[in-house]
Homo-oligomer: 221 residues x 2
Amino acid sequence: MSSKIKIAIVDDELLFRKSIGFLLREEKNLAVVFDGGNGEDLLKYLGNKGNIRPDIVLLDVRMPVLNGVQTSKILSDKYPDIKIIALSVFDSEKFVEFMVQYGASAYLPKNSAPEKVIHTINQVHTHGVYFEPEILNIIMNMKRAEGSGRTKFSFLDLSDREVEVLHLICMQLSTKEIADQLCISERTVEGHRKKMLHKTKSKNVVGLILWGIKNQVISME
Amino acid sequence: MSSKIKIAIVDDELLFRKSIGFLLREEKNLAVVFDGGNGEDLLKYLGNKGNIRPDIVLLDVRMPVLNGVQTSKILSDKYPDIKIIALSVFDSEKFVEFMVQYGASAYLPKNSAPEKVIHTINQVHTHGVYFEPEILNIIMNMKRAEGSGRTKFSFLDLSDREVEVLHLICMQLSTKEIADQLCISERTVEGHRKKMLHKTKSKNVVGLILWGIKNQVISME
DNA sequence: AATTATATACGTATAAACACCTATATAAAA
DNA sequence: TTTTATATAGGTGTTTATACGTATATAATT
């Protein structure tokens, strides 16, 4: 009980991560040892031997460069002793599934109360994991699905070229305009779009766009 | 110099607005007197005579129920003495224009550093307004445009029915499916969509969806 | 009283998106 | 080495979306 719980915060929104740092510092048993804007920054920090190793990482699911899912995959592999608490504006089932599968010990919606965050941190530190009933429910369903068949995650894996096409789609360009821009056939563009619709399980571009935003493939700024 | 600057925070993300509250409380000359999740909450608070009137409102542009633009419109009308600082994840020109036109005294991107926020608050309190060079530039261009012709803002005004249709579009429904759901003709649905494309100056649904997200007509949760 | 915005709806077109199919070359992974 | 994913590209066809009209009834505003 003597030593503080060491926290790292990873979130792309500077003002948010600095602010929540102040919130956490209010708690006497917590110490914020790092904050950064993406997974890469965190891994760089951890790679440097001189730096203080955190006990718990507050990890935003949605980030540019290296997002929460990818980061927690690497984290739980290279640093299995560091606990991960996933932070997200969405309480989407998919994200819960992925974060849990890739080693998250808790899942917090971003409109949680500060007390809930503090509570979750303490629970994770003492008991290893902490999940709210609703989240637990999602996890149980997931386990059941895993047992019955093999879990398929085509998710989160758009190729570079597909992302490129998706960006042009977002600029309201038609297939022909995209083809001209990239100097490829319209059919190829159609092929890419179709592949993306399949990968994201979307019915049409609308679904694809919304998927892209949720997964931070598309940024709004 | 004796009395503190009284701040109200309005942002739909609970954790963010509570956190930034802690950040602001670190400053000895600042006092957070209110925080709420939307414009309506703020107006209710201000309507109650017993409550402490804030000097400055930190107002998120993007909120459900009553968004930043609508709120600042009402605020600057009913409480012209209260200064407004617009907060936004986007540094879109359109938002700057609207917020400034509707009475904002400053415009802060959400990935600003905490020091910048503190600085802006102090500047607004002592000098009335504070704009960064880039933002100032947008405002100057705006003024020029205003002089040459009349400014047209069809913006921000989708009818209830249009919003209803937009939500169904987001659910990846086709025109026919939407028509069935609402028990109206496909032509009517097409009419609504066309009207929305025009109002939002979009070329196709993709633009419409992105507009809807930026303007919080579409929520991602 | 006259104007404006809204919701409704039809007709005729074209443009674009999406569904099926096949196929090849390349690079990475099992 | 064989498989798998990717990027490329073609053919054919159907379904949707969008563009151009017009029109009417209603409620709100000036």
